[in-house]
């Protein structure tokens, strides 16, 4: 249970229901972001706040005095800040409270709410949003704890599910395959036959994974030379690639040739020259450049554009499945966070504190009464009453003050101090 004094709310728009024309109008750039956080932190209604603004979502997480008012206030703030009227935008906003808000943040950080499920970028963006807010002191104990927890949850999801394990673009699927054939790409070479845009992209991706040697062959030598230069590779004359192909571990073809330009015989010769070292052929040309029977050769792996697309589709489906196990983890973590959150509530702490005092009182009085056996029942009753009222008097002011203080920004400090001083968490 959340205390009524500290409600967690979230107001936002995302790629799921809001078109980009609206999202871009509502986005907070870095300069606006700082000013907004500072503005919100001065609002008496708002105890803590964090603004997350990416190209796919704009969200404000806040701890507010009252949920309903807080949500309205945040919606108004987003519209007013961008000088837009709220009427037309209301349909795009979603708002969540307490548990739902926690769950939403965990889903966002773990990339379950992303356009591309499991992409890694969002976690970095959430971290940035948090650190900006923290630097401006617009966060306090609850949001700090919540966001730190969200990062842990995201890490756990990443480690325990395969949500980001599988490439979901043609070039990342190709890189993955290359890494399953060659492991470390650093000592391997790639040859581009044809200078198609996709081939270039795939080559860049491979280079970013460590491929150092690049050959480029094209019917027009100038194009090969210019692409080779940009990739820090070496250009080949189109006719000579057939003789040089054995040098490459990975070959990417993307020519406009109407028929196959690479045949089984050519690769057979190459693989012989390579002493059977494997060769990975990626044919992203349409019509295809490489005869499909090349794949029949041992230690040769041929993937055309459809094959890669199938891999991507299967990976997408797999990520979807993994998202279900990720949700299990998130549900558990929401419960755990809630348990912690409930300790912040003043009432249970006060009850525990009083119980602890009463327990001590009873023990001590009973011990004393054993040595005072001559006292009558009435006298004993008086001793009980005396000690009880003593405890009440001592705890009266702390109780009142604690109730008051937990409604303020630094209430948690008092709560934690009390819990610590009275050993309530043992």
């Amino acid at each position: 249970m959340m205390s009524t004094e500290s409600n967690l709310v979230l107001v936002g728009v995302s790629h799921k229901a809001t078109p980009v024309e609206i999202r871009e109008k509502l986005a907070f750039n870095q300069v606006k972001l700082k000013a907004s956080l500072e503005h919100l932190v001065r609002c008496p209604e708002i105890v803590e706040n964090i603004i997350l603004s990416t190209c796919n979502r704009v969200e404000i997480y806040a701890r507010v005095e009252n949920s309903d008012n807080g949500i309205q206030l945040l919606k108004d703030f987003i519209c007013d800040y961008h000088a837009l009227s709220r009427g037309s935008l209301d349909q795009y906003f979603y708002s969540y409270r307490d548990n739902q808000a926690i769950e939403h943040l965990f889903r966002v950080s773990a990339s379950l709410d992303s356009m591309i499920l499991g992409e890694a970028q969002i976690l970095g963006q959430v971290k940035d949003a948090y650190s900006t807010a923290r630097d401006l002191s617009s966060t306090g104990l609850v949001l700090n704890q919540l966001f730190e927890k969200a990062f842990n949850v995201a890490k756990k999801v990443r480690e325990e599910t395969g949500i980001s394990e599988r490439g979901v673009s043609i070039s990342s699927a190709a890189v993955e395959l290359a890494k399953k054939i060659f492991e470390d790409l650093e000592n391997h070479s790639v040859m581009l036959v044809g200078t198609g845009e996709m081939a270039e992209l795939a080559a860049k991706h491979l280079i970013s994974y460590g491929v150092k040697t690049v050959y480029v062959a094209s019917r027009t030598y100038e194009r090969a030379a210019s692409l080779a230069q940009s990739l820090n590779g070496c250009a080949l004359d189109f006719e000579s690639f057939k003789e040089e192909i054995y040098r490459a571990d990975i070959v990417i073809t993307s020519t406009a040739a109407p028929t196959f330009i690479i045949h089984k015989k050519m690769i057979e010769r190459a693989i012989h020259k390579r002493k059977n070292k494997p060769i990975f052929l990626i044919d992203i040309a349409v019509p295809r450049d490489i005869a499909p029977e090349v794949n029949e050769l041992e230690n040769v792996y041929l993937y055309d554009i459809d094959d890669l697309q199938n891999v991507v589709n299967a990976n997408m489906e797999e990520r979807q499945k993994e998202a279900e196990s990720a949700m299990e983890i998130i549900k558990q973590e929401v419960t755990k966070f809630n348990d912690w959150f409930s300790t912040l509530d003043a009432v249970p702490t006060i009850i525990e504190m009083r119980n602890r005092a009463e327990e001590m009182r009873k023990n001590e009085v009973e011990k004393a009464l054993k040595n005072l056996a001559h006292l009558s029942a009435d006298d004993q009753k008086i001793i009980h009453q005396l000690t009880q009222s003593l405890i009440n008097k001592i705890l009266h002011k702390p109780t009142i003050n604690l109730k008051k203080k937990t409604q303020s920004k630094d209430g948690h400090v008092y709560l934690q101090a009390i819990r610590h001083l009275f050993h309530l968490d043992d």
């Binding site: 399953k180 054939i181 492991e183 002493k275 494997p278 792996y301």
Partner: protein, 263 residues
């Protein structure tokens, strides 16, 4: 006491095998920890069994068929742990430990009787022969596991059906290298074992190379297979699928040789 430790090790390897299998599909940190501890505990128990047995017989565990199976499975675990430690191939255990379990389980049904071993120099050559050969076999068992993993992975990449194992298992290059590296260790040991065996024969006043169709021929076949894989790679680039198949076939002949010996 040795019975208790024997059964404990058997049970541990069963637990480890199951854990490794589960770990293939479900990457839970608890499962991998359980697998590791079960293997370690199994090895400790098995070491105790071997220690007790050796103190009773007065020589190493390599004379009877029971001892050979016990010693082989123990060395397989040792070589596996060393390989895992060096190459960090997490799923190798799913292919090696079940094999260890089967070998050890099989040994449970063999006669526990002891045989007489002559003293002194003759015993030295026998010890050398059996220890070197069995260590070689243990290395071959790792090549066998790496070969199976290679074939699974190769099949997936080749047929473009990328299942869960594709993502879990290491690359073809890593598996191919592992296959070669363990054979590089195993083959010379096995060869030395072969030679010391012949020396032991002469010490026993038998001919240096006693020819026996059921005993010697399978050994020669086994040796030839590994010789082919070992030198084939360097000479003509015998690697990948053929090397993996060779390692699997080679280990099957090792098992076959063992059976021919105990028959």
């Amino acid at each position: 006491m040795d019975k208790v430790s024997f059964h404990l090790s058997l049970l541990s390897y069963l637990v480890a095998s199951l854990s490794y299998f589960i770990y293939l599909a479900y990457r839970g940190p608890l499962v991998s920890t359980l697998a590791k501890w079960a293997v370690t505990f199994g090895l400790v128990c098995q070491t105790v069994t071997i220690g007790i047995r050796s103190s009773q017989t007065g020589h190493g565990p390599y004379t009877t068929s029971f001892e050979v199976a016990l010693f082989l499975s123990w060395l397989m675990v040792v070589v596996y742990i060393l390989t895992e430690w060096k190459y960090k191939i997490r799923d190798l255990g799913a292919f090696v430990i079940p094999l260890v379990f089967v070998v050890l389980l099989f040994s449970a049904f063999l006669s526990k009787d002891t045989t007489f071993v002559p003293e002194s120099e003759i015993r030295f050559w026998l010890t050398m022969h059996r220890t070197l050969s069995i260590t070689g076999y243990a290395a071959f068992s790792i090549a066998f596991a790496a070969g199976i993993m290679y074939l699974i992975q190769e099949h997936q990449v080749k047929t473009k059906k990328l299942g869960i194992m594709y993502f879990r298992m290491p690359s073809l290059e890593v598996l191919d290298n592992l296959n070669f590296k363990v054979i590089t260790v195993g083959f010379p040991l096995f060869t030395l074992g072969f030679m010391t065996g012949s020396i032991w024969n002469t010490e026993m006043n038998l001919p240096f190379f006693s020819w026996d169709i059921t005993r010697t021929l399978p050994l020669v076949v086994t040796w030839s297979i590994y010789c082919l894989i070992f030198f084939g790679r360097m000479a003509v680039g015998l690697r990948g699928k053929k090397a993996a198949q060779g390692a699997i076939f080679g280990f099957i002949t090792v098992i076959g040789t063992y059976f021919l010996h105990i028959l």
